[in-house]
Symmetry: C2
Subunit: 343 residues, 2 copies
DNA sequence: GGTGTGCAGTGTTACGTATAACGTCGGGCC
DNA sequence: GGCCCGACGTTATACGTAACACTGCACACC
């Protein structure tokens, strides 16, 4: 009936025969030189005998800090961001922090202002540049007097911008390009995401720069939305364009690569025998396809954990240096030497 | 310098020339018959003129409720659970609730006890039966005096169990089986997840029951872990078993189906010409594969939203009835009539 | 004229914690 | 012996909110 009420620090104090302040000191770890070892351990003993858990609401109210960070990402159904969350929540937990998400659901935009309520309950923000629009509707974040902010996958060259955690995506796509060049490919098509963020701009620039110095190299480019159907259509355009047919499709993501593979087969061609296809992100999808995708593995968890660490440093008054995490080319079955005969 | 401090309800009261209690009444919506329309609107005006946001920590402390629910799922990187979260967070936001996750990160188990701290800050729990082990380490949840609990995809026939939200998975796999029977298949293999939860038990039972009455129908079964490689191996065993080769592979999930497709091709056979493969879940993966998977669409978002609604009802003192959500067969290219000649 | 009665609002308190400011008590030192 | 001091705690307070109990006050009713 009387569902055992959660004990408070005062209950612990009574049971241990000390004052509430002492309990707070001991459990808060600031008792050195203020409380004797004997009483301290006695307090700790009675505390977990009663199953005492500090009331976080009261603590937050008292301290004015919530030990909660807000993670702003476009969608958790994107595996990259799910893994990113995982990494962020991991280090957060190690420091007694929690992580809440925005926008929580796809459908709930700034209309109902889910952030409005969150705003009062968070200490800082970690935001992906791919959710910049969501961040824009937020207000005093990242500037003096506003909430501390860490940006992910965002242009690090901004003069007075917030701390950033980036991936070496340019390096990644250069590796893919070089891999395909080494296999003997010369006619490339770049399947680019039509999203105007730093990470995608860098890719387009990097592939163009890498091919610029190669004699005989040809590059065309198609932009499309980030889904399989759009990618299939775009790849179809790239393969059936006016010039000679490309032998390698460089895709900005594994999802796009999946669409590209379909387009190739739709023309009666084979992957990788007739056309090589490369992905990016190395999602679980890359290994589920047949043939498995050559892709670029992004350390998504580490982006999240590094972002969280940067935020924690920021909250400690430090100034975290921008970091760039390495990526890794993973060669699988979707890329091979080009066929000798021109189709 | 003096980063504009957040105004409190007392600041609003002073500015509006009323008492703090009045502000609380007005903004809390309980002012009908207690405060005049004129002052109420004046208070509201000054409130959002000052940009007032209630301090959630203080509110939680005062009310003893946090307006936060805990969602216990195995992993967000599983698209089903990401979508489920999305649905839950959606209705939560509509009711001023937040949703936190456990286990936040894959790696952080009960070791660091992330729940221990969350325990103090949540009003109720929504748990997937697939994370039952995580829930077990939690304590007084779901029983009298414990935290309100809603179970997802869990056996609804438990006598005094918590409210449940389920999917009609049995019906779903029956639909798939019937679809394959209608196409003319008679030799089936069931690729079953070796996870001992209600949802997977029901599937195994349903496919067996559906085939029991069909003359000439043969069913074998292989269990495997929920990843592509394990599924490929298991499907290989099923296809190369002692008896006649099955013409249809019924898989417990799209990920398993992806592995099954690989196994089929590894034997020099084709999907669906030689062997039909069906998935389950209808993740984005199903449409990314080539051919696209015939699968069973699960309304993951609605499971989450229904779970959240049930929890809200529970918190209101109600007793939500167990619900079962319908699923839908989606026929795509991975299933077809079996070949006439026996391979 | 006294007494209810509804309106419009105010004073006050408690939620549980962290910490600043304040005792108390014995011992060491000159 | 007086005095200070460190060790060990305690008392008191504030954080911002919600809600209970109360106060005036005008008006109506018998």
């Amino acid at each position: 009936m009387t569902g055992a009420v959660r004990p408070t620090s005062r209950d612990v104090a009574r049971a241990a025969g000390v004052s509430q302040a002492t309990v707070s000191l001991v459990l808060g770890g600031k008792w050195r030189g203020r409380v004797s070892e004997r009483t301290a351990s006695a307090v700790r003993a009675t505390a977990d005998e009663l199953g005492y858990r500090p009331n976080l609401a009261a603590r937050s109210l008292r301290l004015g800090r919530t030990r909660t960070a807000l993670l702003v990402v476009p969608a958790l159904t994107n595996e990259y961001f799910a893994r990113l969350y995982s990494g962020a929540a991991g280090v957060a937990a190690e420091h007694g922090f929690g992580v809440v998400l925005y926008p929580s659901p796809e459908g709930v935009g700034p209309a109902r202002d889910p952030f409005g309520s969150a705003r009062a309950a968070i200490d800082g923000v970690i935001a992906s540049s791919m959710a910049a629009d969501a961040l824009a509707g937020i207000g005093d974040v990242g500037r003096d007097g506003g909430l501390p902010l860490v940006m992910l996958d965002s242009d690090p060259s901004a003069p007075q911008g917030p701390p950033t955690v980036n991936l070496a995506v340019g390096d990644g796509i250069r590796q893919v390009t070089r891999h395909l060049l080494d296999l003997g490919h010369r006619r490339f098509a770049h399947l680019a995401a039509d999203v105007d963020t730093w990470t995608f701009r860098v890719r387009a620039e990097a592939v163009a720069a890498e091919l610029a110095g190669v004699p005989g190299a040809v590059l065309t480019s198609e932009r499309c939305a980030l889904d399989v159907a759009a990618a299939r259509a775009a790849a179809g355009r790239a393969l059936d364009g006016p010039g000679p047919r490309p032998t390698a499709l460089l895709c900005d993501g594994d999802v796009l690569a999946a669409g590209a593979c379909k387009a190739v087969r739709g023309l009666g061609l084979r992957v990788p025998d007739d056309v090589s296809v490369s992905g990016f992100d190395d999602l679980s999808l890359a290994s589920a396809l047949d043939p498995e995708l050559t892709s670029v593995r992004l350390p998504a968890e580490e982006v999240g954990s590094a972002g969280m660490r940067a935020l924690l440093e920021l909250l400690d008054g430090g100034t975290p240096r921008p970091s760039e995490l390495p990526v890794e080319l993973v060669v699988r079955g979707s890329t091979a030497r080009p066929a000798r005969r021109r189709p």
